[in-house]
Amino acid sequence: MSRGPARWKSSDIAWSGERRPYDLFREFLFSFVVILVLVVGLSVLFSSPDPPPVTFQQWAEQGTKDFAATTLSEIDGTSLSATYGPPYQSTAQNGSTQALGPISPETWLGNAFPVAIPVDPYQDFVATPLSLQGDADVKAALDVWSKASADQQTKWAQSYYDAIGKGTAKDGVLTVTTSAAKTGPLDTIVQAQLAFARSGGLDAALLYTNSPRADGYGTWYSNDQTFAMLYFGDSGEGGGGTACISPGDPLPADGDCWFYNQSVANVAPRNAGYLAGGTWGIMNEVGNWPGAWWLFPYTSWYQWGYGATGASGDLYVMVMTVLFALPFIFLPWIPGLRDIPKATRVYKLMWSDYYQGLRERR
């Protein structure tokens, strides 16, 4: 075949009818100017959201009892993070994985690989950060706790949950009535953790101890927030507590379910409003900005049916998203679906001037 102008199969060719002059580069320049003006204009007029992050210091001060109860759940191993399962613990240790019938990628991967992101909430969130301070009393209390029998730990923990419930909190200080006989070392540990959080030290310590180096030294360069995020997520019994409110409800006076209520409370400086899952969640944004509306093919499944209430709702949502994405991607090869546009006849409107021209010529 000779070099030169290419020849075309019938399916390759767009059109051999009438053509009109066109300048690709001019279209590019025009499009670029349109976008540039739009983006600069919108940025100058509306800026963009930047709500400050929550901190353990704020949690300790504003939701003192919630922080104490959550810390206790990390210590006695009943928190959401402590019972999560893969990828934070092995399936043998915690089997609480999401599954739809036989479908459970979390279990499969948990069985197939070593723990991907090892998390031991008592050690990682409480004992190791507190040990950094070198306080002898705290160290002794941690030793007493770790050497106690499981039965003893459960009894101490139950007594201390009761004590927190009956206790009072003011300006980040928790006042509880306890005795060493009833709660063992727990008051010492929890009060130390509370004081550490109030000082701002816990925020830094959780980063410093995250992703420990193989040689045992602290990870000074860490920018891994896994421990801190999981700790926050255990607030208000992992978001399932009775004090966790819905949008529009008043905030609990004692700051219970503190982390989750930040997402529905419309108060400064975050004005988070409607970030919870049942209100389109992460598709929304703080304040009045448009948010990640383009996530709707995914977040819409959280709004009704099993995705809104099911124990394996997250897996269901992901499966449904993929199930609906596949026919969208392969639409051109699916009889019936690919014929919808022709049936709707919207194209007649879109190419109205072209069809008009044809009619006039005929």
Partner: protein, 254 residues
Amino acid sequence: MSARDEVRRAEEDVREAAHELRTGNWTEDSRHYAEKYWPYDRMLPADEPVYVRKAFYLFGSLAMMSFLMLIATGAILVFKGPLWTHSSSAGDLFASLHYWSVQCFFFCIFVHFGSSFFTAAWRGGRGFTWLFGTMTFFTAVLTGLTGYLLTSNYEAQWIGQQGKDAFNSFGFGWLLNVMSMDQVFGWHVVLLPLGVAAFLALHLLWVRRHGVVPPFPPEGFSFEGAPEPDGPTRAEASSRPVGQDAADGAEGAS
């Protein structure tokens, strides 16, 4: 010889010629392939079919320009690091430019999807053009999501905290820990934008390869797009029975 026979013969000529050109030299064969499907006059056209004159055709290039804005503003944000946006008004401005570029990008993509759907733009062997476009979108959604994680503010905390369960449930948590900025940074700045750029490039190549989809043949006309260079005249083509249009109905990419 009928017009249809001429078309068939022209197609056979092309197939035969392509077969002859298989030299066994990968470089040369690849060049011949590219020369066949992407000659300069298709890559940089100076004319378009007469029906390409509506505003909705512009949204593809508007989306592409939004992507270029994202790359440009994103590069400046990378120079100064993700915390710059909280500490200076210049950082805040570039975060806003990046943010509104995302909004424009997805808005244009959705309009582009709408017009491509209602014109059934996958007809005539343009299936892969659609497929690469949808893959560009889904990769861009992941890029946008990881961008929110990089904002290092309350939204990043909330989305990381909430998003981890979906990622873990589907097994993605083993690949990307959305609560670790150490990991998210590389994904958002390098890996995912490369994916978007790659799918976008393939999408554009296939747009240029097959051209803009012609309108559905109107009643009484059956064939507007004839094979070059020896196809039937419009008069001949329009005398063929309705339903024989090679450009009507998806055939998959050739």
